[in-house]
């Protein structure tokens, strides 16, 4: 992921956002929290500085600058060509200034200046000039120069060393469909090694040819097909905006191309929904998986489960606060440090609750429900008294910020890690239950308490540990959820109904059912959202689950038979 922060920096700071990336930019800006953005800025500045310091580039620029100060058209023409091939980052602003008539020179100082909104600056260094030299005058241009400037501008931006900028200029050409850029595009395509950029170039060229009324019909048909490569919504708009008097084969090809792109886009948007669904599903899984132990395996209705999640989130907050004030360098490790602490804290709180209250209520599920609800109220108020009622800021470590692109899919690292994390927790829990002595004893106790007790298993302790495990996992979930939700005393309340729905839907006592249940609910929810809206979608899901429970009272993967009923 080494190259990623750089490109993010360019996108967010320089506002040269390519259309194909535009729609996910907001997502990325959100995920880029302030400290990381600052860091990215600094790195960017450093890169810029290094580029300017390169001697060979400086050499060719200096030659060109010298020629600009002679006030002769042929020297100016030579300077423009030199600038166009210099590869210097300053070349573009200089040529641009010449194009805009804002380039001035001083023959005595042998220097060139650019007129900007804030005053005169030195063209090569970009440093402001306080007092302009006495002999300053405009660099003059005639038609030949203007033609050269145009071509140089196109070539310069198309030959920018930064691939993102090349794409941006290709996109600009795609939009403007300026026929003058054709030559530069051809050169650029011939020289391009980056396949993504090459596609942008080809699409830009195709756009020009498609709209070039005097181009051969065959070429235009081919161009219409080539635009398909671009595959974005604005490509569809472009293809659909052909004038009505365009030759029929071209129109037909454009239409077919647009349809193909739309079909492709629809597929990608489904993939995006599925991805969001998986992401929501993994959040639900994290919230519900501890409950799958306490409720699913032990049969304890723990209404304070959400508060265990909340405690985990507050542990993260406290860990980050300490790191911020004492060990700022460890910030990227804050979540890793918080994980075991959250597990321990929530787990211990859980064990305390089990030992003091719940164990007196075994066999009385409805009373347990009420008592744990009371505990949840008390825990919320405790946290409110200590940390206040407002949301607390929990930051994201750098490895959770940013995003990457898979086709048309934008995948943020935050979501990615939460999904991975949820699956790791799930696998870990399965492993604990299947492969450790604790898991074996747990299963023994839940299946036949008196038999387990007779065999010397300390059932009371196993109960406490099992409950603690479920609560501890809720705490771990809290660490992850602190990254995507507001850390407030009410954090847990938002998850409790959803968690119960997941566990009941998946089938009580079945961890795999919880996994499938969480993912199904997440995906269904996200597919309903675009159709019905977020709230209505959620209502639909709730109603659907209520109906489902009536159909299969014991969930998707319920156990059957006499043993379950009695």
């Amino acid at each position: 992921m080494g190259g990623e922060p750089n490109s993010d920096m360019y996108m967010s700071n320089e506002e040269t956002v390519s259309p194909r990336r535009h729609w996910n930019e907001t997502v990325m800006l959100q995920s880029l929290k302030t400290p990381t953005r600052l860091a990215a800025l600094l790195i960017g500045a450093l890169v810029l500085f290094l580029a300017m310091a390169l001697p060979s580039v400086a050499q060719s620029i200096d030659d060109a600058i010298a020629k600009l100060t002679t006030d002769g058209y042929s020297d100016t023409a030579a300077a423009i060509n030199a600038l166009a091939t210099s590869g210097s980052p300053r070349a573009l602003p200089i040529v641009q200034a010449l194009n805009d008539g804002k380039l001035q020179f001083s023959a005595s100082d042998k220097k060139v200046f650019i007129v900007t909104a804030t005053g005169l600056v030195e063209a090569v260094t970009g440093a402001p000039v306080a007092t302009p030299p006495a002999d300053i005058s405009d660099v003059r241009a005639n038609n030949r120069i203007r033609g050269l400037v145009n071509a140089a501008l196109g070539a310069l931006s198309l030959a920018n060393p930064d691939p993102q900028k090349r794409i941006a200029s290709a996109d600009a050409v795609f939009k403007s469909r300026d026929e003058g850029a054709l030559a530069a595009l051809d050169t650029a395509i011939a020289n391009e090694t980056n396949s993504t950029v090459a596609i942008a170039f080809k699409a830009a060229k195709a756009a020009i040819i498609l709209f070039k009324a005097d181009a051969p019909v065959n070429d235009r048909v081919a161009a219409a097909q080539a635009i398909q490569l671009r595959g974005t919504q604005d490509a569809v708009a472009l293809l659909r905006s052909l004038p009505a008097d365009t030759p029929k084969p071209v129109l037909e090809a454009a239409n077919a191309s647009a349809k193909a792109i739309e079909y492709n886009l629809a597929l990608w948007s489904m993939a995006q929904n599925a991805w969001y669904g998986l992401s929501l599903g993994s959040v639900l899984l994290l919230a519900a998986i501890g409950l799958a132990i306490t409720f699913g395996v032990m049969g304890i209705i723990n209404m304070a489960h959400g508060e265990m999640v909340m405690i985990g989130a507050y542990v993260t907050f406290v860990v980050q606060e300490i790191i911020r004030t004492r060990f700022p360098g460890l910030f990227d490790w804050s979540l890793t440090i918080a994980l075991p602490l959250a597990f321990m804290t929530s787990g211990l709180v859980g064990i305390a609750i089990e030992r003091t209250i719940i164990r007196w209520l075994y066999g009385r599920p409805l009373d347990t429900l009420l008592a744990t609800w009371g505990i949840s109220l008390a825990l919320q108020q405790t946290v409110r008294s200590i940390f206040g009622a407002n949301n607390r800021e929990v930051g994201s470590p750098s490895w959770m910020s940013g995003s990457f692109q898979v086709g048309q899919l934008s995948i943020t690292w935050g979501r990615m890690w939460i999904i991975v994390f949820a699956l790791i927790v799930f696998a870990g829990l399965i492993a604990i239950l299947r492969r450790t002595p604790l898991g074996l004893q747990m299963r023994a106790v839940t299946q036949n308490r008196s038999m387990a007790s007779a065999m010397g298993i300390p059932t009371a302790w196993i109960d406490a540990l099992t409950f603690g495990l479920g609560c501890g996992i809720a705490g771990i979930a809290g660490v992850a959820l602190s990254q995507i939700d507001n850390v407030s005393p009410n954090l847990g309340q938002g998850y409790i109904i959803d968690s119960f729905m997941v566990v009941v839907f998946g089938g009580v006592g079945n961890l795999w059912g919880t996994l499938v249940g969480a993912m199904t609910l997440g995906i269904v929810n996200k597919f309903l959202e675009p159709v019905a809206g977020a709230v209505l979608g959620k209502i639909f899901v709730l109603v659907a689950i209520i109906l489902f429970i009536q159909k299969r009272p014991r969930g998707l993967f319920a156990l059957k038979g006499r043993a379950v009923e009695s």
Partner: protein, 249 residues
Amino acid sequence: MDIAANSILYLDGVAVSFDGYKALRGLSLVIEPGEMRAIIGPNGAGKTTMMDIITGKTRPDEGEVLFEGSTDLTKLDEATIAEMGIGRKFQKPTVFESHTVRDNLVLSLKDNRSPFATLFHSSTEEQDARIDELLTTIKLTHRAYDLARNLSHGQKQWLEIGMLLAQEPKLLLVDEPVAGMTDAETMETAALLREINKTKSVVVVEHDMAFVRELGVKVTVLHEGAVLAEGPIDYVANDPKVIEVYLGR
């Protein structure tokens, strides 16, 4: 179909499995009207599952279950089956603990079972007389106004039988009626069941061989969800297959 038509209860080829475990595999059984039948078998033979299927609690995967030769019990729910005249006594005595003995019988008395009818119900003289009669039968007159939860284990068993009788069923299914009873109580229960059998058909599931012998009726031995042997107790008890099942292999 003749056999079916003349029977009060007719099971043919009944099979059911739970998550791959075959609780019943092709169970066939015919009870004639007025008959008392004892059903014995080791644990897991499928006795309780058979009761569940007859009373509508469990649906069989395959097979026929007919009541009075024509009614298909596999399509009906518990309440309908009970109203048609099949009463069931559970293995563990289940009476309504927070009701009095009398109220337990009032609830069980054959009457309109709809919520509207019970809401505006008031007992008639005949019903009161019938309950007094039942209390005498089950020897609980002196405890009529005590809460059922305060009865002894044996009294609860008897109350449950009384509740069964109050329903006026045509067929009684009795699951281990003498479990946990003293010898004297066991003999009395046997006498009570024989008395009941004068007017109703009875199916008794029991482990206690002495009790079954005391009943002196045709015995069906279940094993692994199917009938292993059938006949008088002495005949069955000498069947080598039965001995093998009971005494181990």
